[in-house]
């Protein structure tokens, strides 16, 4: 048990607890805050795996941008306590948990357990830096990068159109 193993166990427990919090809370604001915590913990895990740029963009993009968007929409929709939605019955919840548990057992036994032999990371830890990611993004993956920029432009225009329409 090294220090990193202990840190990984604690971080993954926190990630699972905050993920459960997203679907367990009735108030969407509390769900959003749990989700922000989960994204932040994932960013820390990416740092542990030596993915510097991905980790920092995880924290910036998800915790900063997407969560702010969610909270703004929740505040704009004014979903206060009287408007909180009636949740489905407990029987349906237990059914969903049972189906997910069955799927989880299949994935664990067939996909994850056969990978038991992969104990230590094998790749070069230098390959998560900004320099290497930027080099790859602008050489081998430049077409995907340009298509992503067009997609984001269409997203900006579309969201403005959806938000401005009246009547």
């Amino acid at each position: 048990m090294t220090v990193e193993t202990v840190a990984f166990v604690i971080l993954s427990l926190l990630a699972v607890i905050s993920a459960v919090g997203v679907i367990a809370f009735k108030s969407p604001v509390r769900s959003a805050i749990c989700l922000a915590g989960n994204f932040f913990i994932l960013g820390v895990l990416y740092f542990m795996m030596n993915y510097d740029l991905i980790g920092i963009s995880q924290i910036l993009v998800y915790t900063g941008l997407i969560m702010m968007l969610f909270l703004f929409v929740i505040l704009l929709l004014n979903l206060s306590a009287p408007q909180m939605l009636q949740e489905k019955s407990y029987i349906k919840w237990w059914g969903a948990v049972a189906v997910a548990g069955a799927l989880g057992i299949v994935v664990f036994s067939q996909v994850i357990m056969p990978l038991e032999w992969a104990v230590n990371p094998t790749s070069n830890p230098e390959l998560g830096t900004t320099k290497s990611v930027g080099t790859a993004l602008f050489s081998n993956y430049v077409y995907g990068f340009e298509i992503c920029s067009i997609l984001l432009l269409v997203g900006i225009v579309g969201s403005i159109l959806l938000a401005k329409r009246r009547g």
Partner: protein
């Protein structure tokens, strides 16, 4: 990083994905459903990155190790871009629906049901 097996990361990703799937099926608030979709996307990102870091698979032996690490990270970058666009559009649609129907209960939205 030494001593943490790949199974740990994969198990965390699988659990997060399953929690997100339960939320998508069971929640009634479309904003929370969006959050669960983000949770599932992040679980997939974690799986991509951990496979890229630990890979030693004979199936992809013709690709060099460095190229595989880059493949995993590029997949995550593109997933992030698509998720940002998706959230912007999706929340705009939710706002538009709320303006016309005055409710956001996902079970009330059945006018597209044939």
């Amino acid at each position: 990083m030494e001593g943490i097996p790949l199974m740990g990361f994969l198990a965390l990703g699988a659990v997060m994905f399953l929690i997100g799937a339960v939320g998508v099926v069971m929640k009634r608030n479309p904003i929370v459903i969006f959050m669960c979709i983000e949770l599932m996307l992040n679980a997939a990102n974690l799986t991509f990155l951990s496979f890229a870091r630990y890979h030693e698979f004979p199936l992809i032996g013709m690709i060099s190790k460095d190229a595989t690490v880059m493949n995993g990270q590029m997949a995550v970058v593109f997933v992030m871009a698509v998720a940002a666009a998706e959230v912007a559009i999706g929340l705009g649609i939710i706002m538009a629906i709320f303006r016309t129907k005055e409710t956001i209960d996902i079970d009330e939205m059945n006018i597209l049901r044939g």
